[in-house]
Symmetry: C2
DNA sequence: TTGAAAGCGGTACCAG
DNA sequence: CTGGTACCGCTTTCAA
């Protein structure tokens, strides 16, 4: 089923059919009616690949995330989608599951599809791949990875500040033995996060810290917590790399009969919706996913009128959110 | 950057470049080397639209879900993706947010992309849209919607059996006043679900039931629960349409100082991972998302050798999962 | 083994 | 307003 068949049935040229399809230029209404009739009768659906090929321009932007299962990424994705739809763009999603081959495959896929823009919300990215993207000429936004470049916008969260707020708060509550639950990821900001925690702790000599890491899932958080405690180390507070793993930590503690926050305090990061619904509700650090999504859209999709006056390097200072999973350190 | 430029640089024809790209037919190794060199030097990425257009066949399958935010849908998506990748297919995801215009748009988009197969994991679908799909000739799998048709496979869960198991269990525990927390959705199996609950309850005369519904989110479950209780009705057990809303219900109950399961029992549905991690862990009904994903792949992607001996109507009998959110009805 | 050329299904420019 | 037609970038015979 293609333009030509529709054209034949409506007794017009393919050009005319194309015109009514894109309701461009003026088409006599009787002609248009004939064409529309033919289209519906034939149940014609234009081939988007052909359209793209002929048209040149794309109207779809790509979003690559590390782990869609984590609501943090999903929220960003959703915000991007909303912004894109509002501007008449489609969005194609790709999930890497923190696997670098998947990342490479996804990036190539997006380039191959000639997306109008690409957002990479991934916590690791090899320089060669960044080059590949840069050379492709596609406008790119990175969240939390790499350094600013030509046609690349960078958004990053001041993770260090966030962690410091958490640590300072716990310190003020008397906590001295801290556990950190991270998650696996070979490169980039994740281990950097663990490093950040270590650095932030180093400012305060009397604090001792131990770390463990597993998958970025509920189960992963639980396992990491188990590993942390298995070593015999008895932290009075456990700082988790994000809310999902923190909920996993809560579960493990509950299973061991350790009460939160009475025996051990727990903190998350991101402030996903779940952090308010779990028990106890998590003390965490808010990352504005909505805003990040908007920034992504703004920098990827040029406004028709407004010249893109977008910053090329944006850093977000996260906010501390106090809830019920933290409390004073128990008297030793 | 296109085939021709690569061809020129490698001093061969575009046909040859195409051959090495698809490592098809025999290309002299020295020639191949020249081509590969040109490709990498030019950082060439084939245009997938053009490839698709010329090639005809698609190699990507589409998945449309109602609410990716709910892990139930996400798990299915992930299973489909795994199966598809294993067979060398890509998958394109679309999320409708339970909005029927989005559903229509997504279906058209998929048809326009000429996907090799389409899975619709949505709880509502207008007949006209089903026709549109049927006529498109694309192999389709529906989960929980519509009736079997030509080139359409249907997978459905025996929701009624699942609900009956829940109700019978609660009944055996002495519960007589039940609340049902559903979620909004204009058409199809969702309200059908509410109806199912009502029917199932009707079997047991001494049980009284009240219902409420809101969004399919944590917050929605909470609001619906609030509405349910605001009426003055005092259920001894609350049956939730799924685990996500159940976690929302737990939150509302906790806020009101109502203890679960001592004062009120709560049940979920789906058995998503979160149901084990929330507090208290949810008594629920298991739906095998993994298996559903596999069935989808099997029926959408024809095995190279094996002739598709797939059932066209598959019904799954869900399993009751007992955890900690249910207990005996309190003595009145 | 390799090249030439005919499409695939649209879009858009140029005449009429 | 409408038709003719030259591409868009790649795959795939058909010959050489």
């Amino acid at each position: 089923m293609n333009l030509e068949q529709v054209a034949r049935r409506a007794k017009v040229s393919t050009a005319t059919v194309s015109r009514v399809l894109n309701n461009a230029s003026i088409v006599k209404s009787t002609t248009r009616a004939r064409v529309v009739k033919a289209i519906t009768e034939l149940k014609y659906h234009p081939n988007l690949h052909a359209r793209h090929l002929a048209g040149g321009k794309s109207r779809t932007i790509g979003v690559i995330v590390s782990n869609l299962e984590n609501p943090f990424f999903f929220d960003i994705y959703k915000a991007v989608e909303a912004g894109a739809h509002a501007r008449g763009f489609e969005v194609m999603m790709a999930n890497t599951d923190y696997r670098s081959e998947q990342l490479v495959a996804s990036v190539r896929l997006m380039i191959g599809r000639r997306v109008a823009g690409l957002a990479a919300i991934v916590s690791e990215m090899e320089p060669a791949l960044i080059d590949e993207l840069t050379d492709s000429g596609i406008p790119v936004v990175f969240y939390d990875v790499g350094a600013p470049r030509r046609n690349i916008t960078n958004i990053r969260v001041n993770y260090r500040r966030g962690i410091e707020k958490v640590i300072d708060y716990l310190h003020s509550l008397g906590h001295r033995r801290l556990g950190f639950v991270g998650h696996h990821a070979l490169l980039g900001p994740i281990n950097e996060r663990m490093k950040t925690v270590l650095d932030a702790v180093a400012r305060i000599p009397e604090i001792e810290v131990r770390t463990a890491a597993d998958a970025d899932t509920l189960e992963g958080g639980r396992q990491a917590t188990r590993a942390l405690l298995a070593s015999g180390f008895a932290p009075t507070a456990i700082i988790c790399v994000n809310d999902v793993t923190a909920v996993g930590a809560l579960r493990e503690l509950r299973e061991r009969g350790i009460r939160v926050p009475r025996d051990v305090s727990v903190t998350g990061f991101d402030n996903i919706k779940l952090s308010e619904f779990c028990y106890p509700a998590l003390t965490t650090v808010h990352i504005p996913r909505e805003r990040i999504g908007q920034i992504i859209c703004d920098s990827l999709i040029p406004k028709p009128d407004q010249p893109s006056a977008i910053e090329h390097d944006i850093v977000i200072d996260p906010e501390f959110v106090l809830r019920e999973s933290t409390g004073p350190a128990p008297i030793a």
